[in-house]
């Protein structure tokens, strides 16, 4: 299994600008690691055609969401925004007219991600859209992005209860947590960050969680789904 995702430079000069965050190794207990919860608002779901129009990131240190250091931004679209996407996130072309182009707008996001383990809800979307942007900057993501959706499924399995739906809002509600502005990058990033610390804390109550165990959530969900009885020694009857 590869190490959890953080930004790595592919070229030596860039490496210097992205120093390795301390304490993020696999065996690091999760509370000692540094995370960054990312959410993107998109013009659509096809990475080849659609683009990032809004992004937000919220850092987590020592198991706490450092809300004041959150980053949020808009980036100017290069193609017309499909009407159905405007209905989802409410961002119109006119709202983006003054926003910088993506490669420039993304700067603060890259800064805050640096040295941190990435977390997202349904992380494959973030991954597939962030990868090309970062690649253009000579940077690439290594390893998986921790996924709150997988962690939610895992907790449900550990507790022996049925999983809630895959939506972030449903997951937050099932944990008794607030749902911030949905389909607003900063709202969703905050919701996801709170969901993440809750899930990590609750999973920690079943078995100590490290960066590595959290990154293996998806695999563990699959194992437990196939072999529910022997899957987890800590699992409740």
């Amino acid at each position: 299994m590869s190490r959890p995702s953080r930004i790595r430079s592919t070229a030596p000069p860039a490496t210097a600008t992205y120093p390795e965050g301390g304490g993020n190794r696999g065996r690091t207990p999760w509370r000692l690691a540094h995370f960054c919860v990312v959410d993107l608002e998109l013009s659509g779901l096809d990475p080849k055609y659609d683009e990032i129009i809004s992004f937000a990131a919220v850092p987590i240190d020592a198991g706490r969401v450092v809300a004041g250091n959150a980053v949020y931004g808009l980036s100017r679209n290069t193609r017309p925004l499909p009407e159905e996407s405007v209905l989802v996130h409410g961002i119109r072309t006119v709202d983006l007219a003054d926003a910088p182009p993506l490669d420039e707008a993304i700067e603060p996001l890259v800064d805050i991600m640096t040295g941190r383990i990435l977390v997202a809800h349904a992380a494959w979307i973030e991954r597939s859209f962030l990868d090309p942007v970062l690649r253009r900057r000579g940077v690439r993501l290594r390893g998986p992005i921790l996924d709150t959706r997988d962690l939610g499924h895992l907790l449900a399995l550990e507790r022996g209860v049925p999983s809630v739906s895959s939506s972030l809002s449903e997951l937050a509600r099932s944990l008794g947590l607030p749902v911030h502005r949905p389909h607003h990058a900063l709202g969703d990033a905050l919701t996801a960050a709170q969901v993440f610390i809750a899930l990590a804390t609750l999973l920690d109550g079943h078995a100590p969680q490290t960066v590595r165990t959290l990154s293996l959530a998806r695999r563990r969900v699959q194992t437990l789904s196939v072999y529910p009885a022997g899957g987890s020694p800590a699992r409740r009857a």
């Binding site: 706490r64 607030p178 905050l190 709170q194 109550g205």
Partner: protein, 618 residues
């Protein structure tokens, strides 16, 4: 740093942040860190150190716990940790998530910036007044909460001590001590000056000024005064702005009606006693009064946990007991009917000296004024009924009548003024008569708490005792009869038999010998009704006791009172009826040594007195 709009939107709905402009809340939101606490997790433990964060509950529920007991349950929008954060004192309760909870954690710096504003202070003071963390919630909900929105005159605790510019520093200090005040007002005609006890300490004791100097040499004048209708919060802000802790409060007509101190407005421990006194004042029925007085013991526990010195706890306890007695009498008289004569209710003993604690008996007596030409038999009948009912209600409120039946419920202690004066004079003429000394001791420690308090009452009769060397000599003998429980080289003397075997009797062994010496020495110096510490102060200043012995006794008294308080608070917390019997093994070795030293010092003062007066020690 940026503030997340969702966090700002949440905070602006929560008191006290709803009273702030959005800019201030945004700065607060920037500092927010979001924490998750699983059900059952401790958020902070009780009393290890001061908390460094203010917390606001975003989702879930948090329990306030004290020794495993849940005192309160807080929900979204409520905040906690502020009292410890602002005072820098350890928390007097712990907190625990009662369900999975999300909290906003705000560091002290960012939180104090907001909380120190008037709106924040007002909220905090209100919350502290509610004081649910000590007293629990319930019927309290109907009580007024906004002390700081009230005019400042509502927070004045006693009439001001006022003197002229020519008053000597010594006299000023004596009056300050007698009144239990920390500042006095100097009347300058068209303005006022102020002298605080710390002025006296630094400018006289430290500054080498003679105690014969006039107070005008040490006062601050003109003093910054506040109008009595100004709100508590505005006054508090003025105090903070000017760095002044005492303000004379001036009525509309320009008269000084009291001195307000920052403690009066802010401190938790005081606030809870304010709260209690208000609850007592508002009680309309005896049942409500009994209910309100059930908060007195928790208040004592709270003060003790807040590290309030024992002397202050005793005076707060006594002030509340006075207020309670007054209210009981009001209600009982309303029940019984109009009194056939003017009368006064006297409180005696430790309560009169303002040294009562939960274990103390409540001694009382009644004096009626026989100049009204009413029928003495019907007066006795009426007063007997009122006194019996009053002592019964006080007992329901947790105040037990004196075990030796020095109580207004006994007809012997319900008398006309002329009868009391006759008895007092006869005690003076022949102190050897049965119980004369005990009765004199009790009556010297008497204070009218209800009724016409301006009449010179019984205690005043003893002022002439200066001219009665025989009485004083007998009082001194009486004072030397109680020896502290220590041998010359032995350890502490404990009870050898009975229920309290191997226990140290802190009251009879520690308190009584000092109180008795102070009563004699005070009376010999012309002071009748006063606290033990005040009497010793005057006795030391007047030469009845050497200044060294006076201070020694004051310190010993402080120590024993503190141990008594600690012991009783531990008993109250364990749900045991408080008493004065301490197991010496429970003391740490250092305290045990201090206590032994204190007892030896008291014994040594007794030897000095015996030698001076040519009396024999038992």
């Amino acid at each position: 740093m940026t503030a997340v709009p969702d966090i700002v939107e949440f905070l602006v709905q929560c008191p006290p942040f709803d009273a702030f402009d959005v800019g201030a809340v945004e700065r607060l939101a920037e500092a927010v860190e979001v924490e998750f606490h699983p059900a059952g997790a401790t958020i902070f433990p009780k009393g290890t150190e001061a908390v460094e964060f203010l917390r606001v509950i975003r989702a879930g529920a948090v329990e306030v716990i004290d020794d495993g007991r849940v005192l309160d349950l807080m929900g979204p929008g409520e905040m906690f940790g502020y009292a410890s954060l602002l005072s820098g004192l350890p928390t007097d309760f712990g907190t625990r998530a009662s369900e999975d909870s999300l909290t906003y954690r705000i560091p002290a710096d960012a939180a104090s910036e907001v909380l120190a504003k008037p709106q924040g202070l007002r909220y905090l003071t209100r919350s502290m007044l509610e004081d649910r963390h000590h007293l629990g919630s319930g019927p309290d909900a109907e009580l007024p909460r906004d002390q700081l929105r009230q005019p400042v005159r509502a927070a004045i605790r006693s009439a001001p001590v006022i003197c002229t510019p020519g008053t000597s520093v010594r006299e000023a200090a004596r009056r300050l001590t007698d009144a239990g005040a920390t500042a006095l007002v100097v009347d300058l005609g068209d303005s006022v000056g102020i002298v605080t006890d710390s002025d006296l300490r630094s400018r006289v004791v430290g500054g080498g000024l003679s105690s014969d100097s006039p107070v005008s040499a040490v006062m601050t004048a003109p003093a910054f005064t506040v109008p009595s209708d100004r709100s508590g919060s505005e006054v508090l802000v003025d105090m903070l702005d000017r760095g002044i802790r005492h303000f004379p409060v001036v009525s509309a007509s320009g008269r000084v009606v009291g001195i307000i101190e920052d403690h009066d407005l802010l401190a938790v421990e005081r606030s809870s006693s304010f709260f209690l006194r208000r609850a007592i004042a508002r009680a309309g029925t005896i049942d409500q009064l009994v209910e309100a007085s059930s908060k007195l013991r928790p208040t004592v526990i709270g003060m003790s946990q807040g590290r309030v010195p024992a002397a202050e706890v005793m005076s707060v306890f006594s002030v509340v007991a006075d207020a309670l007695t007054r209210k009981v009498l009001d209600l009982v008289i309303a029940e019984t009917g109009k009194p056939p004569t003017r009368f006064a209710w006297l409180t005696l003993g430790s309560q009169a000296r303002r040294e009562a604690l939960p274990s103390s008996d409540l001694d009382s007596a009644v004096v009626w004024f026989d100049d009204d030409h009413a029928d003495p038999a019907s007066i006795r009948r009426y007063l007997g009924a009122v006194a019996t009912r009053t002592t019964d209600v006080l007992q329901r409120c947790g105040f037990h009548p004196d075990e030796h039946r020095v109580s207004a419920a006994d007809p012997l202690f319900v008398r006309s003024l002329s009868s009391w004066r006759r008895s007092a004079r006869s005690f003076l003429d022949d102190p050897t008569q049965d119980k004369a000394l005990i009765l004199v001791s009790v009556l010297v420690d008497s204070r009218a708490v209800w009724g016409d308090e301006t009449e010179p009452l019984i205690a005043e009769t003893f002022r002439s005792a200066t001219a009665r060397p025989r009485l004083l000599r007998l009082l001194a003998e009486f004072a030397l009869a109680h020896r502290p429980p220590t041998g010359f080289l032995r350890g502490l003397v404990v009870e050898s038999t009975g229920e309290h075997r191997r226990r140290l009797d802190l009251k009879n062994g520690g308190i009584v010998p000092i109180v008795d010496i102070a009563r004699w020495a005070g009376l010999a110096s012309g002071v009748t009704s006063a606290s033990t510490v005040a009497r010793l102060g005057v006795a030391g200043a007047s030469g009845t006791l050497s200044p060294f012995d006076a201070v020694t006794l004051q310190e010993a008294f402080d120590l024993v009172c503190q141990l008594r308080l600690d012991h009783q608070v531990a008993q109250l917390r364990a749900g045991v009826e408080p008493d004065d019997f301490l197991d010496p093994d429970e003391l740490n070795p250092l305290t045990r040594n201090y206590l032994k030293e204190a007892f030896r010092a008291v014994a040594s003062v007794q030897r000095h007195i015996a030698a001076d007066l040519g009396l024999a020690l038992r």
